[in-house]
């Protein structure tokens, strides 16, 4: 009886030990993945900042006005040439 119990406990012990090894291995992989994603996130943050900067640089009023005036031949509108419509009026 004791012999049987001992064999069972030993098997259980070895099983536990192996599962600990496995769990550590899994963890190492997951941590590594997490780190990769974190660094990817940092890179994306930088890209986002870069894109925001580009948007602001390209959307500069000065540049828009320049292009509108020279390339598109646009002119600012004046109230004299504007027909104003009021909602609900006939």
């Amino acid at each position: 009886m004791t012999g049987k119990l001992n064999v069972m406990l030993t098997t259980l012990l070895v099983g536990c030990a192996l599962s600990v090894v496995n769990a550590r291995y899994q963890r190492n992989h997951l941590v590594n993945d997490l780190e990769k994603l974190a660094s990817q996130q940092r890179q994306l943050d930088i890209d986002w900042a870069q894109l925001q900067l580009d948007q602001s640089t390209l959307g500069k009023n000065e540049r828009i006005e320049q292009i509108a005036r020279t390339e598109l031949n646009m002119a600012p509108l004046s109230p004299a040439r504007t027909q104003y419509l009021t909602e609900g009026e006939k």
Partner: protein, 589 residues
């Protein structure tokens, strides 16, 4: 010696075997074995004790030694917060760059063509590079804040002794247009001017570090824990509107050019929230390229320069008298022939206006009329009014370098000083203070705090004059802009505008200059429901025109027209063609 008969050799010849010789049977004393046993036992005990000590009692040292073999401290970078305008447009943002430096000893054997290529990539003359490398220090910075793509190409050159370190560079996409609001940071990412300086604490990031375990391939396999928590800087959303800012900036720039002025400045406030929507200066600078920066360019004239506002201050004196019930808009005053003597000094008007009412005093900007109204007020009452609207008070805008201006204590006012102050002489303030104070007319007589950051809650105002007085004053300042007023050039097509001009002589070497002026204008649009409060200052116009009505009023009109259009404010006037009188009425000072 002879051999034995049987031919065998026996030791000693007595028949006793060698190994059994009693002579060799040494008797050892008992204590010796015990000593050996004890010594061995003690040695093992010492080993066990030491093991116990090292393993259990004093295990820090060895654990530390062990950890250093596989644990690494990793820097966790923190970026400086971004600055946005009210519509979410980026005004300042940090990107990672690298500094390039060299260990002078290690770089010595580099072939010259590689160094030439390095100099080209670093955008510096080769001679300068060689001079830096010849330095007797062992480590020299070659260039700070080099952009990443350049760094990648430098690293490809594979020069021994080149070292790159990560740092941040601040970019200002709006450049010179926003320079005086946003400011800039130095090479260490520390704010130096304007909002970057004022909000340094909030914007600055706090880099952290953590302990990690790396495997033999350098991959992180365990995060042991934080040493220092990293904190990114906070993002800031300013009250400024890039579109309005651009309009204000352009108007000021054009005006300075057109009137041959030394400098110009404008500020646009939101009447409902007290937000600073635009703050423009000319001359200015490009915060991205600060190689040749002068004090003139850096000066934020709206906030740090004081000037004597002149007639733009008259409405405060008149409003105070109306609020006290001393005069009504229709009360008549005799301004005589344009000369009036008080306290031994002569006050002049440019024209003889004769008997006019209070509204006309404002419309024609009569010094004598304002002086006569101020005679009904006590010095203390006037001083209290000026103090309530913030003149001479240390401003709390949260902006570095903001000046308080100067209002002398009322006890020291002499008769002529009081008269002068009633029309804005002998009292000084910044343009922003003037604009701020004007809010009482644009609003219903209350003053609200100014803000450089976006306001989300309705500000709480402090009543200075009654709503009725404010409304009466609005009618008066609208007449200033109409035909017959001093600021007919401030008319805005399609909108009703109102404001007051001011021309002040500059104080040079303690005297009023006869040739150097500051032309100013403070006004609001649209009058049916004021939305923007705009103040303009043109410093030292040297062309033929130098009055506030001539230089600042048209600048105001251009600014207001574009700002209203940009903000989609519906027009409140049917007048679409502005007719400016051929000889606009000139104010007296």
């Amino acid at each position: 010696m002879k051999a034995g008969a049987n031919g065998s050799r026996v030791a000693a010849g007595k028949g006793v075997a060698f190994s059994k010789s009693p002579v060799l049977a040494v008797r050892l004393p008992d204590w010796r074995s015990r000593v050996v046993l004890f010594v061995l036992f003690a040695a093992f005990a010492a080993l066990a004790g030491r093991a116990l000590w090292v393993q259990a009692m004093d295990n820090q040292f060895l654990q530390k030694k062990g950890a250093s073999r596989y644990m690494r401290t990793e820097e966790l970078p923190a970026t400086r917060g971004k600055i946005f305008d009210r519509n979410g447009m980026v005004l300042a943002s940090s990107l990672p760059v690298k500094s390039v430096s060299a260990f002078t000893e290690d770089i010595k054997g580099t072939p010259p063509e590689k160094l030439r290529e390095l100099a080209r990539l670093l955008d510096m003359p080769e001679a300068d590079l060689l001079k830096k490398l010849a330095s007797n220090r062992s480590y020299v910075y070659l260039k700070r804040q080099v952009e990443m793509d350049v760094v990648a190409r430098i690293e490809k050159l594979d020069i021994d002794g080149i070292d790159t370190r990560k740092e941040y560079k601040r970019f200002y996409p709006q450049g010179e247009v926003m320079a005086h609001i946003v400011g800039f940071t130095n090479v260490e990412d520390v704010g130096q001017e304007a909002i970057e300086l004022a909000q340094q604490k909030a914007l600055a990031g706090q880099p952290g570090s953590r302990r990690v375990i790396k495997d033999r391939l350098g991959r992180i396999v365990e995060d042991v824990g934080m040493q220092r928590e990293p904190h990114d800087g906070k993002d800031l959303t300013l009250s400024v509107d890039s579109k309005l800012q651009y309009i204000a900036f352009n108007s000021v720039k054009e005006a300075v050019d057109k009137f041959h002025a030394k400098a110009g400045a404008a500020v646009v406030l939101d009447v409902h929230t007290g937000e600073v929507l635009a703050l423009a200066n000319w001359p200015t600078y490009d915060p991205n390229n600060r190689a040749h920066l002068t004090g003139e360019q850096l000066r934020n004239r709206v906030i740090t320069d004081t000037f004597e506002p002149g007639s733009t201050l008259k409405p405060f004196t008149v409003a105070l008298a109306m609020d006290k019930g001393l005069v009504k808009p229709s009360t008549l005053f005799d301004t005589g022939g344009g000369r009036y003597s008080t306290g031994g000094h002569i006050i002049r008007d440019t024209h003889a206006h004769g008997v006019i009412d209070v509204s006309t005093i404002i419309q024609k900007s009569s010094n004598i009329g304002t002086t006569k109204i101020s005679e009904m007020l006590s010095a203390q009452e006037m001083w209290e009014m000026f103090t309530k609207v913030g003149f001479g008070q240390a401003p709390r805008y949260g902006f570095p370098g903001a000046v308080a201006g100067r209002v002398r204590p009322y006890k020291s006012w002499r008769t002529v000083a009081k008269a002068n102050m009633s029309f804005g002489q002998g009292i000084s303030m910044s343009l922003l203070q003037l604009a701020h104070a004007w809010l009482i007319f644009a609003r219903d007589g209350d003053i609200i705090p100014l803000s450089f950051q976006k306001v989300t809650e309705k500000p709480v105002g402090q009543q200075v004059i009654s709503a009725k007085t404010a409304a009466q004053m609005r009618t008066m300042v609208e007449s200033v802009v109409g035909p017959g007023g001093t600021a007919s050039q401030a008319q805005v097509a399609g909108y009703r505008a109102g404001g007051k001009t001011g021309t002040a002589q500059k104080v040079i070497d303690g005297r009023y200059s006869q040739t150097h002026y500051v032309g100013s204008f403070a006004g609001m649009v649209p009058m049916s429901n004021p939305r923007f409060l705009i103040a303009v200052m043109i410093d030292d116009p040297t062309g033929p025109i130098h009055t506030g009505g001539g230089v600042a009023a048209p600048t105001f009109a251009a600014l207001a027209a574009n700002a209203l259009r940009a903000a989609n404010v519906p027009p409140d006037s049917t007048v679409t063609d502005i007719i400016i009188p051929e000889h606009p009425f000139e104010e007296s000072n």
